[in-house]
């Protein structure tokens, strides 16, 4: 018999095929297993994710990943009581494979289907690590694909997007700067490594959308494209002048600008909305300077900081299982079997 409290989560918004099993409890949901297959190696040589390659990989990985997840959790598929799947945002081809698989499971097992929001999943996954969210939390979701500031009144039903990036995502800016500094793709982790050896105050790079004139419209929005250009100009000027410069210093100064803007705006949002818990999620939360500065500024402001371990910050099934478990717990109505995937699913929609 299906167990209404056992949720299977499927994530396929980009290059990772993720499947997780999460059990719903009143006091905090429990992750039974989380299995991820990635096609990243196939994309690296192209310098970016190739949607068609990712989609083909999702098709081939789906049944093996489902099988492994069930084996690891020692769960019979017939025990699953609900299926949650990423409905968006993400790449259409990859999203389509996951959604079709989830629907087939819902029909084959005769259980409800929940199409959920990937970005909100990046916040929800922290409930599996640090327990249920208090009444109101702020969530900063930063990765190669997203940079969003979310006010979470209820993770299952009531999320407000306070701001987002107007151009590049934080991780994307890191990759682009990595490329212009001649580092291999993806450049983010390389910059982070270099930055740890450099002086973050060596160069004062601009802080996007922090000027007084931007406060009215873009208090909680981000922009990293001007910063990327500033780094490029600075490096070119040095090279044109034949001057030597320290790559670690440039990396550290660039990373400092990103971390400064992200944390300053987030802390300001917590203050103005009377929120005392901050959740940071998404793959970019692995960034050293962001972690350090967030910890320092949250401590100063009396804000509790929750960052899940990095393996839960990257794209995975656990985040979708976590959000699925939250919406099941909240009694949210299931999605329709004909749910469409939405590559730019709005962050006001937790489910479809």
């Amino acid at each position: 018999m299906p167990d209404a409290s056992l949720v299977l989560g499927i994530e396929t918004s980009c290059d990772e095929t993720g499947v997780a099993l999460v059990r719903v409890h009143d006091d905090g949901n429990e992750l039974l297993t989380d299995v991820v297959a990635s096609s990243m190696d196939e994309h690296a040589r192209f310098g970016g994710i190739i949607p068609e390659i990712a989609s083909r990989a999702h098709l081939e990985a789906m049944i093996p990943t489902l099988t492994r997840a069930l084996e690891r959790a020692d769960v019979d598929l017939g025990e699953v009581g609900a299926v949650a799947v990423t409905a968006g945002p993400g790449l259409v081809g990859p999203l389509t494979v996951g959604a079709a698989a989830a629907k087939a499971l819902a029909v084959g097992l005769d259980v409800p289907l929940y199409g959920v929001n990937h970005v909100i999943g990046h916040a929800a996954v922290d409930e599996l690590v640090h327990g249920r969210f208090p009444e109101r939390v702020m969530a900063l979701v930063v990765s190669g694909g997203h940079s969003s500031l979310l006010l979470v009144d209820d993770i299952a039903t009531d999320v407000t997007e306070l701001g987002h990036t107007l151009d590049d995502a934080a991780g994307e800016a890191f990759d682009k700067v990595g490329r212009l500094l001649g580092l291999p793709y993806p450049g983010g982790p390389h910059i982070d490594r270099l930055a740890r050896e450099g002086d973050p105050t060596a160069v004062r790079f601009p802080r996007g959308l922090t000027a007084a004139k931007d406060q009215a419209r873009h208090a909680y929005d981000f922009s990293f494209s001007g910063l990327k250009t500033a780094v490029a100009r600075w490096v070119e000027a040095k090279q044109d002048a034949g001057e030597e410069f320290s790559l670690p210093d440039v990396a550290a100064s660039f990373a400092a600008s990103v971390a400064d803007v992200l944390t300053a705006k987030t802390i300001a949002a917590c203050r103005s909305h009377d929120v005392t818990t901050l959740v940071v999620g998404g793959g970019f939360s692995a960034n050293s300077q962001l972690r350090e500065l967030a910890a320092e500024r949250c401590a100063e402001a009396g804000i509790t900081l929750r960052i899940p371990p990095i393996r839960y910050c990257t794209d995975n099934g656990a985040m979708i299982g976590a959000l699925g478990a939250a919406v099941v717990r909240a009694g949210v109505a299931p999605s329709s079997l004909d749910l469409p995937v939405d590559s730019s699913m709005p962050l006001t929609h937790v489910t479809v």
Binding site: I49, S55, A100, A101, S143, G171, G188
Partner: protein, 278 residues
């Protein structure tokens, strides 16, 4: 022992059939030990949506609908059959992942059959003249998917068939459509060339070979190079896919569900670039 069959190589077709093992009237004997033919399967319920885009949205609801209409509990389904293309990527994948995952959820086997095989078998079953069939379907980008077939086994009207004799047990159900309307028998088919993807013009010489019957929607799009034979089937019948799959499975053939993409992926990185730790 109902079998669910679906195809998303062009539009969306889903059906639930009841196979009828045992020799149909007039069938020849097959290879040692294997049943040579069935009576025509009964189509319990069928859905077709002439939509080329929203496969992943519409497919699962259609599966649920045919089960409901047939009054068949999902746990009674004994196999899932899927058309493996060739077809444009996204719709084909929606069909394949649906079939594989549904079979996984039901704990039953999943069988793959080329969607072009079904059109070829339909052409022979429709009694179209000709020794060979050239199947052409729309590959978009001004190209077609193509494959050439003949009947499996000795050619001619006396060759072996995999299903015949009308719909067994369907006499009471006048609304059940025949799997292969017309001839009342269905042969298996043998691939002679292809499948491949090419410009219609490049296939014109092949299409002009004497005795070639041309079928499939590619002929509607490029009539100057691929003139359709009158009465040519244009839509893949999922029930024919199912009949082919069951006959082949009974023979012990492997029926993989690998997609027939026939094209390499376009390697343009997505605009929304993402780092490894996304």
């Amino acid at each position: 022992m109902p079998v669910l069959a679906l195809d998303t190589s062009a539009d969306i077709g889903v059906c639930l059939i009841q196979p009828s093992p045992g020799p149909g009237p007039g069938s020849s004997s097959g290879p040692a030990g294997a049943p040579a033919s069935w009576r025509m399967p009964v189509v319990l319920a069928e859905r077709r949506v002439t939509e080329q885009r929203r496969h992943a949205e519409l497919l699962a609801p259609l599966v649920a609908e045919v089960l409901a209409e047939a009054g068949t509990d999902r746990r009674e389904v004994t196999a899932v059959v899927v058309g493996t293309g060739p077809a444009p990527f996204t719709g084909l994948r929606a069909g394949l992942v649906t079939a594989r995952t549904l079979a996984f959820a039901l704990g039953v086997p999943v069988h793959g059959v080329s969607s072009l095989d079904a059109l070829a078998a339909q052409a022979f079953a429709a009694g179209l003249a000709g020794e060979e069939v050239l199947v052409v379907t729309d590959a978009r980008r001004r190209e077609v998917y193509a494959a050439r077939y003949r009947r499996r086994g000795p050619a001619g009207p006396d060759g072996p068939v995999i299903a015949s004799g009308g719909t067994a047990g369907a006499a009471a159900d006048a609304t059940a459509p025949d799997v292969a309307p017309g001839a009342g028998w269905l042969p298996d088919v043998e691939l002679l060339a292809g499948p491949l993807v090419d410009h219609a013009e490049a296939l014109a010489a092949e299409a002009a070979r004497p005795g070639t019957v041309i079928v499939g929607p590619g002929g509607l799009i490029y009539p100057e190079h691929l003139p359709l034979t009158p009465g040519a089937p244009l839509l893949v019948e999922p029930a024919v896919l199912a009949a082919l799959a069951l006959a082949r499975a009974a023979r012990g053939d492997a029926l993989p569900t690998e997609p027939l993409y026939l094209r390499r992926p376009d390697v343009v990185p997505s605009a929304a670039r993402k780092r490894a730790t996304g």
